[in-house]
C-alpha cells in the first residue's frame, strides 16, 4: 500500500490524484502502526494513529486551499502545465 502510494505520487500528473496517493501512504503508515501495536501488545502505536489522522486532516485543508488558489489563477491542476519556475 505504501509502495502503491509512492508509485502513484511519482507517476500521476494530476495534483489532486498525487495528493490522494500521499493520503494512501499515510493510511498505510496507520495500518502498520496498528499491526505493530497489536503484535507488540502495547497501545502507543494506536495513539500515534490518532495524531497521524489529525495531522492528515489539517494538511488536507491547507493542501486543497493551495490547489484551489492555483486553479483560480491557472485553470489547471495538471502539474506538467505548472512550470513557471525552472532552472
Amino acid at each position: 500500500m505504501f509502495i502503491t502510494g509512492v508509485v502513484g505520487v511519482l507517476t500521476r500528473r494530476n495534483a489532486i490524484i498525487i495528493f490522494m496517493c500521499i493520503e494512501l501512504m499515510l493510511n498505510s503508515v496507520n495500518l502498520t502502526f496498528v499491526a505493530f501495536s497489536s503484535y507488540l501488545g502495547n497501545e502507543a502505536g494506536q495513539m500515534f494513529v490518532f495524531f497521524v489522522m489529525a495531522v492528515a486532516a489539517a494538511e488536507a485543508a491547507v493542501g486543497l486551499a493551495i490547489v484551489i488558489a492555483l486553479f483560480r489563477n491557472r485553470q489547471t491542476v495538471n502539474i506538467n502545465e505548472v512550470n513557471v519556475l525552472k532552472w
Binding site: V9, I18, F19, M25, A44, F51, L70, R74, N83, L85
Partner: protein, 474 residues
C-alpha cells in the same frame, strides 16, 4: 497539577510562543481598522520569549514524562528560532506592505511555524517530533502561497506542499518501522537499548526512511528539487524564514534523533550520510554559478550549506554537535541578512531580484551594499566573520573522526562558492548602472539588518562566547 505547572514553566518558550501567536490572531480578528498592533505585539512578544528561553536554560531535563526536552539544547535552539522569527517579522513589515499582503495572519503563521520548530527540535518522543514537524510545515505551506494571486507563489506552495507531504509519509513510515522494532516511540527508551537494535535490518530500514524525511526538510541532494523553486516563488521573507528557521530546526532534530539517540557508528549509515553531504556540496555550489536570480542562487547556496552541516552529522560525537549548532547560529544571521536585503531591492510585483538589479548598488544605497557584502563574505567563510568559524569547527570535528576526505571536498567546494558570492560584491561596488532609483528601505528593517550584521561579527570575532554557552550542553 503541580507537576503540570512545573512542566509548563519548564517549556516556557514554547508555551509562551503559543500564547503569543493566539493573541496575535485574536487581535487580527477583533480589530476594526488597519493598525500595526500585530506587528508590535509580535516583536515585543518574541523578545519576551527569548528572555524566557534564556531563563529556562539551566533546567536541563525532560518535561511531560519524557516527551519534551527542557533547558540546555532546547533553550538554545529556541533562541535560534525566535531570533530568526523576530528578524523575519521586523523585515517583513515593510515588505508585505510593499507587495500588498499586509495581513495580520502573516505574523500568526510565522509564530505558529516557530512553535512547530521549537517542538520539532525539542521532542524526545517521535510523536512530539512529528507534531512539531507538521505544525512547522503546514504553517510554511500556507506562508509559501501567501500571495495567492501570484502564479509563481501558487506554484511554489503546491510544490512545497506535495513534496513536503510526500516526505512526511516517508518520515512516518520510518517511525512506524522503528516502533515495530523497539516497541516504543520515545527516544530516551530507544536510546537505552540502542546497541541491540542497531544491527537489525528492520531498524536500519526505519532509520533510513526517517533520514529520507529529514533530507527532504533540510534540502540535501538528491531530495533538493523543491528548494530552488520554492525559495524563488515564495515571498522573499518567507524564503528567508524557511532557509534559516526551518532548516535549523530540521538540523537540530536530526542531531537529536541521529547523533544523540541512534549514535550510528554503523558504516552503511555513515556512508549514506557522507554521500548526501558530498552530493549537496557539489550540486549546490556548481549549479549556483549558473544562476542569474539572486534568490535562486541563495537557494542553491543553502543546499550547499546543508552539505557542510551534513559533514558534521556524518562525523558524529559531541564536538560535531557543537560545530553544527555553531554553524546554524552563524548561518541564521547571515542568511536572514542576505534575504532581507533582497526583499528591499525587490519591487512591488515581486520581481527585480536578478543579479542586474544589484549592479552599482553601492552608489545608490551604500549602507545596504556594505551589509550585503558582509553577509556574502560570511557565506564564503572569510576569517573574521561567523561563517568562517562555523566551517572551521565542523571541519576540525570531521578530521578528528577521520573524515579528512570529506573535509577536502568541503574546502574545495567552498573555493568554488567564492566565485558566485563575490560576483554579487563586484557588481555592487565596482560597476555602475544607469539605474538611478534608490530602493525604498524601512528604518526598522535596516535596524534588523544591522542586528544581523552585528550578530555575524560578534559570533565571528568572539566565537568563544557562543561555545562557552554551549559548553555544558550535552
Amino acid at each position: 497539577m503541580n507537576q503540570l505547572l512545573t512542566d509548563t514553566l519548564n517549556i516556557a518558550p514554547i508555551a509562551g510562543t503559543i500564547v503569543l501567536s493566539l493573541i496575535v490572531i485574536m487581535i487580527n480578528a477583533l480589530k476594526k481598522k488597519p493598525f500595526q498592533a500585530e506587528y508590535w505585539v509580535s516583536v515585543l512578544g518574541i523578545a519576551a520569549n527569548i528572555a524566557l528561553a534564556v531563563w529556562t536554560f539551566p533546567v536541563r531535563g525532560t518535561a511531560f514524562e519524557g516527551m519534551v526536552l527542557t533547558g540546555g539544547f532546547a533553550s538554545l535552539t529556541s533562541v535560534i528560532f525566535l531570533v530568526s522569527a523576530g528578524i523575519t517579522i521586523i523585515l517583513s513589515r515593510d515588505y508585505i506592505e510593499k507587495i500588498g499582503l499586509a495581513h495580520g495572519e502573516f505574523y500568526h503563521l510565522i509564530l505558529m511555524a516557530t512553535v512547530g520548530m521549537m517542538t520539532f527540535a525539542a521532542g524526545t518522543d517521535l510523536v512530539v517530533t512529528f507534531i512539531g514537524l507538521e505544525l512547522m510545515s503546514v504553517s510554511l505551506y500556507a506562508l509559501a502561497g501567501f500571495s495567492r494571486r501570484v502564479a509563481k507563489a501558487n506554484e511554489a506552495a503546491l510544490k512545497y506542499f506535495l513534496l513536503g507531504a510526500f516526505a512526511s509519509g516517508f518520515f512516518l513510515y520510518g517511525i512506524a518501522l522503528i516502533y515495530g522494532m523497539t516497541g516504543s516511540t520515545n527516544l530516551l527508551v530507544i536510546a537505552q537499548n540502542i546497541a541491540a537494535y542497531k544491527a537489525e535490518p528492520l531498524f536500519l530500514v526505519g532509520a533510513g526512511l526517517l533520514l529520507v524525511g529529514f533530507a527532504f526538510k533540510v534540502g540535501a541532494v538528491p531530495f533538493h528539487m523543491w528548494v530552488p523553486d520554492v525559495y524563488e516563488g515564495s515571498p522573499t521573507m518567507v524564503s528567508a524564514f524557511m532557509s534559516t528557521g526551518a532548516k535549523a530546526s530540521a538540523f537540530a532534530a536530526l542531531l537529536l534523533v541521529f547523533t544523540a539517540t541512534f549514535d550510528f557508528d554503523h558504516a552503511s549509515m555513515n556512508t549514506v550520510l557522507a554521500i548526501l553531504a558530498v552530493a549537496s556540496m557539489l550540486v549546490g555550489n556548481i549549479v549556483a554559478i549558473a544562476q542569474s536570480n539572486v534568490k535562486r542562487m541563495l537557494a542553491y547556496s543553502s543546499i550547499a550549506h546543508a552539505g557542510y552541516m551534513l559533514i558534521g552529522i556524518t562525523a558524529g560525537g559531541e564536538v560535531s554537535m557543537a560545530g553544527v549548532l555553531f554553524y546554524l547560529i552563524s548561518y541564521v544571521f547571515t542568511n536572514l541578512g542576505a534575504f532581507g536585503i533582497i526583499s528591499m531591492i525587490e519591487n512591488a510585483e515581486q520581481q527585480g531580484t536578478d543579479l542586474e538589479n544589484f549592479r552599482g548598488l553601492y552608489y545608490r544605497r551604500p549602507l545596504h551594499a556594505v551589509l550585503m557584502g558582509v553577509f556574502m563574505f560570511s557565506l564564503i567563510g572569510i576569517p573574521p566573520l561567523a561563517g568562517f568559524f562555523g566551517k572551521y569547527y565542523i571541519f576540525i570535528a570531521a578530521i578528528e573522526k577521520g573524515y579528512t576526505w570529506l573535509t577536502i571536498v568541503g574546502v574545495v567546494t567552498s573555493m568554488i562558492s567564492v566565485y558566485y558570492y563575490l560576483r554579487v560584491v563586484v557588481l555592487m561596488f565596482f560597476q555602475t548602472s544607469e539605474e538611478t532609483t534608490r530602493p525604498a528601505v524601512a528604518i526598522d528593517g535596516t535596524v534588523a539588518l544591522l542586528i544581523s550584521a552585528f550578530g555575524v561579527l560578534i559570533v565571528g570575532l568572539f566565537p568563544s562566547i557562543v561555545l562557552d554557552w554551549m559548553g555544558g550542553l550535552f
